[in-house]
């Protein structure tokens, strides 16, 4: 059974389409990374799963239950770290966790949960004084209450320092080892790379790619991109660069080319530019970013279409 399934989900706000005919399946027990730039529709998707918003068309199920009609039984069995949440400023860390335990009828030890997420000192402090990182850890502790079957984490590493983000990932892995399905969204590639079994990429409300981490790496090349500025960019140069083996994507802006490619192809690319009559004025390489992955996938899709 699919842990999470969306079929044909469209969400419009006025004349803005946030999600466009989205199909998505998260399998039982996997860690699914939901990637996309800000505004791609990730939070809208999660909001639909939680019945915070209702789809204009299509349907969503979580653990086989309809996300709207059976929302209460869904939320009884899942743990959520919402995006853009706000703590109750006058309640302490422990009171927050206690409220979640009481709400779910669970029997966790609030102090043990706060310890696990790394903020044992925050138990007796009012949450209004928490840093963003502490709030995020508190929200994770709340999500872990009652050993949920699915963890839905919306941008979980917001406000965390690298160390905190690593601890977050190790908790995610622990939960998956316990048997939980984990669905988490991020706009940062490295965070999903480290832990996810599969990744879906959302762009402009559509799933543009869904793949394993390995497949994603392959598509993004070995993880770098090259920008080349030439004296005068021509169609010949563009075609020559596209033909270089190992190049997965090329885009042009003025006289600057941005090329996603394997590292080994760099010299070949510069050679190709020169032999097509271009004069290289400047070039730089950088690590593959999410944008490059997008470029790779969206270009592939354009070819298929």
């Amino acid at each position: 059974m699919a842990a999470i399934e969306l079929s044909g989900v469209t969400k419009r706000y006025g004349d803005v389409t946030a999600l466009h005919d989205l199909d998505l399946e998260v399998r039982d027990g996997e860690i699914y990374g939901f990637l996309g730039p800000n505004g791609a529709g990730k939070s809208t998707t999660i909001d639909i799963l939680l019945d915070f918003v209702r789809p204009t068309a299509g349907s969503a199920t979580v653990l086989g239950h309809d996300s709207h009609a059976d929302s209460l039984s869904i939320r009884q069995r899942i743990g959520v770290l919402p995006e853009g949440f706000h703590v109750y400023e006058r309640l302490t860390g422990r009171q927050h966790v206690e409220f979640a335990i009481e709400s779910k009828g669970a029997n966790d030890d609030p102090d043990a949960l706060l310890e696990r997420v790394g903020i044992p000192d925050a138990a007796d402090r009012k949450a209004g004084g928490f840093s963003k990182g502490m709030q995020q850890r508190l929200a994770l502790a709340i999500a872990l209450v009652g050993d949920p079957e699915i963890l839905i984490l919306d941008e979980p590493s917001t406000g965390l320092d690298p160390n905190g983000a690593r601890e977050m990932r190790s908790i995610i892995t622990e939960e998956a080892n316990r048997g939980a399905t984990v669905f988490f969204s991020s706009h940062i590639l490295e965070q999903v790379e480290a832990v996810c079994d599969r990744v879906g990429i959302l762009k402009n409300g559509q799933l543009v790619a869904e793949d394993t981490i390995r497949g994603l790496r392959d598509a993004a090349g070995t993880g770098s991109s090259l920008t080349v500025t030439v004296d005068e960019l021509s169609a010949d140069i563009l075609a020559a660069v596209e033909d270089v083996p190992g190049v997965s994507g090329v885009s042009a802006d003025g006289d600057t080319l941005t090329v996603s490619a394997e590292n080994a192809a760099k010299t070949d690319i510069l050679d190709a530019v020169e032999s097509a009559g271009g004069e290289v004025e400047d070039f730089a390489t950088r690590e593959a970013s999410l944008d490059d992955v997008f470029a790779a996938y969206t270009n592939d899709e354009a070819v298929e279409a």
Binding site: D51, R54, R75, P82, F85, H86, L91, Q95, A100
Partner: protein, 292 residues
């Protein structure tokens, strides 16, 4: 019973706020202060030769009725008008509703939680007033005082329900403030004119004529619906019900030989209960369909 968890959390949250303590101080000063002020006013009257000015808790209740009918609605609306809209706007609603609570539980829990906060403040104020009354007044009628206490707490819950219900209809806390203020203006300030306007439409004059009772006291010679329309306002319903249940000797509405059922204190109670049900229900109806 998920609303009970929300109510407890809300109460705990408020109990740590300075607002609750400020509110309690306000009610103590107000209730006990007026009880004391009333002894001064009556004492003055006695000095000027008014006959048999006996200080009774019933007089105190009558004296306090109008200010209570003003203060309780205002404080209730102040502490509730952002209860739902503010949570949705800030994002704490996401935390609340990602846990297994329905939106109905959220509305009911807020009404019970904030209503209890207000009731606690009113309760402390009433106890302080009770001390003053017991110490300085000649006549103390426990039944009268208790009825007044219960009715005041009920009015608090009614306006808590109204405030939470209105707050549930919007996710813009600025708009929630306007709704609460608008409700107060319409039902507490302008409403008196509504029955007059209706009277004008039906009878062609703005105000019903005055007549004189057998003992010479003037009274308004108006049809029953005129009084009924006036009592649709929550604080008017509160005042008429409190009067009905505390002062059995008062000459109610001499225009009638027998009081029609819809002008009895029981009818006023029904109006109050209707307010505390209808507005939160309407708020829930909008809230349950809204995208957060």
């Amino acid at each position: 019973m998920s609303w009970a968890a929300i109510a407890r959390k809300d109460f705990r949250d408020a109990a740590r706020s300075k607002a609750l303590w400020g509110l309690t101080v306000l009610f103590v000063l107000f209730m006990a202060g007026f009880a004391y002020l009333f002894t001064l006013l009556q004492g003055q009257g006695q000095g000027q030769g008014q006959s048999d000015a006996v200080l009774s808790s019933l007089d105190y209740v009558s004296f306090l009725m109008s200010p209570v009918a003003l203060l309780v609605p205002i404080t209730a609306l102040v502490i509730t008008h952002k209860s739902i809209a503010g949570e949705v706007e800030s994002g704490s609603a996401k935390f609340l509703l990602s846990l297994p609570h329905t939106r109905r539980d959220a509305v009911v829990g807020k009404v019970v939680g904030r209503g209890s906060v207000l009731a606690a403040s009113i309760g402390v104020g009433l106890v302080a007033a009770l001390v003053v009354v017991l110490a300085l007044y000649d006549v103390f009628d426990a039944g009268v005082f208790l009825t007044f206490a219960v009715m005041t707490v009920l009015l608090g819950f009614v306006y808590t329900g109204i405030g939470v219900g209105l707050s549930a209809t919007t996710k813009d806390s600025g708009r929630a403030t306007i709704l609460a203020a608008g409700f107060f203006v319409v039902f507490e300030v302008v409403w008196g004119f509504a029955s007059n306007a209706l009277y004008y439409l039906v009878e062609g004059s703005f105000s019903p004529p005055f007549a004189q009772a057998a003992d010479g006291t003037p009274y308004l010679d108006a049809p029953g619906w005129y009084f009924f329309v006036q009592r649709l306002s929550p604080s008017e319903a509160f005042a008429s019900a409190t009067q009905w249940f505390t002062d059995s000797t008062a000459t109610f509405l001499p225009a009638f030989d027998t009081i029609p059922f819809y002008l009895t204190g029981w009818a006023s109670l029904v109006i109050l209960v209707a307010w505390v049900v209808v507005v939160p229900a309407a708020g829930f109806y909008v809230f349950s369909r809204a995208d957060l």
